[in-house]
């Protein structure tokens, strides 16, 4: 693409990544969560692929490493579930409610939102966000590499 598109894409990329992290981390307070934030982060990488070409992006992030990133997300999900099985009664039990980390129970009704709440939900949001970022970005990267040799 033209240098104008490349410059704007490089300039706006960190802001999209930060917005993706915001949506993932506030998934238990505001509309959003792991899936939506992960889709936003994957769209940032897709924007880089469109602007710079798939081969230049592949030098920085191979699809194997993106796939490993995705697998780590899935592993965190299952490990949190198994910890719930061991520490409490059942698989995926919300064992962090009432604990100091992420365990503050918000007051009933309308409240401004406490970031340190939600039990295991923020951890699972991060895990699913990693999964979606890695999965969608790797699929689009592989498809763009299979498409042809332009740029």
């Amino acid at each position: 693409m033209t240098p104008v598109v490349r410059t704007i894409a490089a300039l706006i990329f960190p802001f999209i990544i930060i917005f993706s992290f915001y949506v993932i981390m506030h998934g238990h307070l505001t509309p959003g969560g792991g899936f939506q934030g992960g889709a936003i982060g994957a769209s940032a990488i897709v924007m880089l692929i469109v602007a710079y070409g798939a081969r230049n992006v592949k030098k920085k992030a191979k699809e194997e490493s993106l796939s490993i990133f995705e697998s780590i997300g899935g592993l965190v999900f299952v490990i949190v579930g198994i910890i719930g099985f061991v520490a409490a009664s059942s698989f995926l039990y919300n064992f962090l409610v009432g604990e100091p980390l992420f365990g503050t129970i918000p007051p009933f009704g309308s409240n401004p939102g406490i970031l340190n709440s939600g039990g295991i939900l923020p951890i699972l949001n991060i895990a699913v966000g990693m999964k979606v970022i890695g999965g969608l970005a790797s699929v689009v990267l592989v498809m763009a590499l299979a498409g042809g040799d332009e740029e």
């Binding site: 307070l29 505001t30 509309p31 969560g33 899936f35 889709a39 918000p106 009704g109 309308s110 409240n111 401004p112 939102g113 979606v132 999965g135 969608l136 699929v139 592989v142 498809m143 299979a146």
Partner: protein
């Protein structure tokens, strides 16, 4: 009748997608039809759980004067819609990859011609 317009919109979308899937032979067009049907199903799930004048079931900065169970839309259909959207994206990715490989192998995307095994 006039209050059920979202349901009839769902029906029209499903019929458009089914038409593309039944009467077209291009694999990419069939994938587009399947995606339209899937969007229609997501819209149907969301409209099933809508309550008259309800707000989203989120307590952060909730406007005052909302009755707690009755003034909010149902959360379970929205959660299942969220699951369905991500599964749809994954299935679309798999379908398009298979279409790319079929085009490379047979040189065509026509489903009638693909059926004939070449080599």
């Amino acid at each position: 009748m006039i209050y059920s317009i979202p349901f009839y919109t769902v029906i029209i979308l499903i019929l458009v997608g089914m038409y593309a899937m039944i009467f077209r032979r291009n694999l990419i067009k069939m994938a587009i039809g399947l995606t339209i049907v899937e969007s229609a199903v997501n819209l149907f799930l969301v409209t099933l759980g809508y309550r008259e004048g309800g707000v989203a079931p989120i307590y952060t900065n909730l406007p005052s004067g909302i009755k707690i169970p009755e003034g909010m839309v149902l959360p379970v259909p929205q959660a299942l819609t969220l699951t369905s959207i991500v599964i749809g994206v994954a299935i679309l990715a798999l379908m398009l990859s298979l279409s790319i490989m079929i085009y490379r192998h047979y040189g065509t995307l026509d489903s009638k011609k693909v059926r004939r095994l070449k080599e």
